[in-house]
């Protein structure tokens, strides 16, 4: 209940409600982009500092491996679920599935805050896990969409690959997260101490501001897109995070992760991308309908994870590993 009534969730709810009521209020796009970069830098730096204090052991590499397999594998489950239940086209189902194998960094940040509030410790290296899970899902989605399709010319395929590789490997999330993680690890506690007035004290306030914008985005996406979606795709947006979280929990249990880390792996497996993957899908699968996957990931799954998912995943992880 305390998670639901935290300012972060309440500001998200405020944005969602006013957007559904058609308020003209908006957060300037460049400002929101700056906020997103700030949040990724802050968690990357903190994660890097934490990583500098602990050795990378076999368990950490097992988690990296599990994360890669999850990101590659979850789109196949999502694709099968969508094709069997929703009647979405092969391309739309594959594009949407790609979003559910990748991650939402804002959900991850909100989960870290929820864990902090609940007093459950988590490890810094999970930031690297988040970065690892961004990309493999895109490859799975493209394979699902393109199998059986007519092959492109060699020149066209090579140009597409170059452009897509740049988009998926050098997008802001990966560059900032991994860059800040390395900088945090190199700078260590002493170096981070000097940055803490900028990255620690204002973090909560900036997160609230960003969540207000996310609420507005989610509400507007939902208002515009829900008519295009039937009951089955909307239900998918609610049950797919639970499937992802369950598989994440299973992996966490097999590896023997502590409760906080397992909860974060569940959150990453349950969340759906709405920054990196949509851009990649517009490049690689332009026939896919953005109103389907953006509405599902941002309008349905993101609010679900913020309001219901995160507290649920923390409770389950604490019960399983605590």
């Amino acid at each position: 209940m305390s998670t639901l009534l935290s300012p972060v969730v309440l500001f998200f709810a405020l944005g969602l409600v006013v957007a559904l009521l058609r308020s003209p209020m908006s957060v300037p796009q460049s400002f929101a982009k700056g906020l997103a970069i700030y949040l990724m830098m802050a968690i990357g730096l903190k994660g890097g500092v934490e990583m500098s204090k602990t050795a990378l052991d076999g368990q950490v590499f097992a988690v990296f491996g599990a994360a890669t397999i999850l990101s590659f594998g979850l789109p196949f489950i999502a694709y099968a679920a969508l094709r069997f239940t929703s009647g979405l086209s092969k391309t739309d189902a594959a594009a949407t599935a790609g979003h559910y194998g990748s991650i939402s960094i804002v959900t991850f940040v909100a989960a870290i805050e929820a864990l902090r509030m609940a007093g459950v410790p988590s490890s810094g290296y999970l930031v690297a896990v988040a970065a690892i899970m961004e990309t493999p899902a895109i490859i799975s989605a493209l394979w699902l969409a393109m199998r059986g399709s007519k092959a492109k010319s060699a020149e066209e395929a090579s140009r597409d690959r170059g452009e897509l590789a740049r988009e998926v490997l050098l997008n802001a999330s990966i560059v900032v997260l991994l860059g800040a993680l390395v900088i945090g690890a190199v700078a260590g506690e002493d170096g981070f101490e000097r940055l803490s007035p900028f990255f620690v004290a204002p973090f909560q306030g900036v997160l609230c501001l960003f969540m207000l914008d996310m609420g507005l985005n989610a509400g507007r996406g939902l208002r515009r897109g829900w008519r295009k979606l039937g009951v089955a795709p909307i239900a998918f947006g609610l049950y797919m995070p639970l499937i992802g979280a369950s598989i994440g929990a299973l992996c966490g249990m097999l590896i023997g992760m502590p409760a906080g880390d397992m909860a974060l792996l569940m959150v990453l497996s349950a969340s759906a991308s709405y920054i990196a993957v949509p851009a990649a899908m517009r490049l690689a699968l332009p026939e896919s309908d953005p109103s389907v996957y953006l509405t599902l990931s941002l309008g349905i799954t993101f609010p679900f994870n913020i309001a219901v998912g995160i507290p649920l995943y923390i409770a389950v992880a604490t019960m399983m590993a605590g």
Binding site: S26, P28, Q29, A32, K33, A36, R159, E163, E167, D213, M214, L216, N217, R220, G221, R224, K228, Y274, I275, A276, V277, P278, A279, M281, R282, L283, P286, E287, P290, S291, L294, L298
Partner: protein
């Protein structure tokens, strides 16, 4: 009276992720200059869109404007038309009159 010269004006409204590809087509066809302006909002395919409401910016639209001679722009037009077969976008051409033909 100032002399005016007839040229072709190509206007392409396209989703921003495809901008680079469209620019590559123009460059390959020998177009020497163009301008890109952001689309603010619009409606099409039963969907209303507006800049600044999609955090991924993947559904933002941009307008590419270029002016040139028909022998340069027509091949570009054909390739852009092929490109648009799979994408969201609008392409149109019109005759315009310019003051400084040497610029195009």
């Amino acid at each position: 009276m100032t002399e005016l010269h007839t040229k072709l004006r190509l206007e392409l409204i396209i989703e921003s992720p495809a901008l680079r590809r469209a620019e590559d087509v123009l460059k390959d066809c020998g177009v020497t200059g163009w301008t890109v302006v952001p689309g603010l909002s619009g409606f099409g395919g039963s969907t209303r869109w507006s800049r600044g409401t999609d955090i991924s910016e993947s559904t933002d639209m941009v307008v590419v404007i270029c002016i040139g001679d028909a022998d340069v722009l027509e091949p570009a037009l054909e390739r852009l038309h092929t490109m648009l077969a799979r994408r969201i976008g609008v392409l149109n051409v019109s005759d315009v009159r310019v003051l400084r033909p040497g610029l195009f």
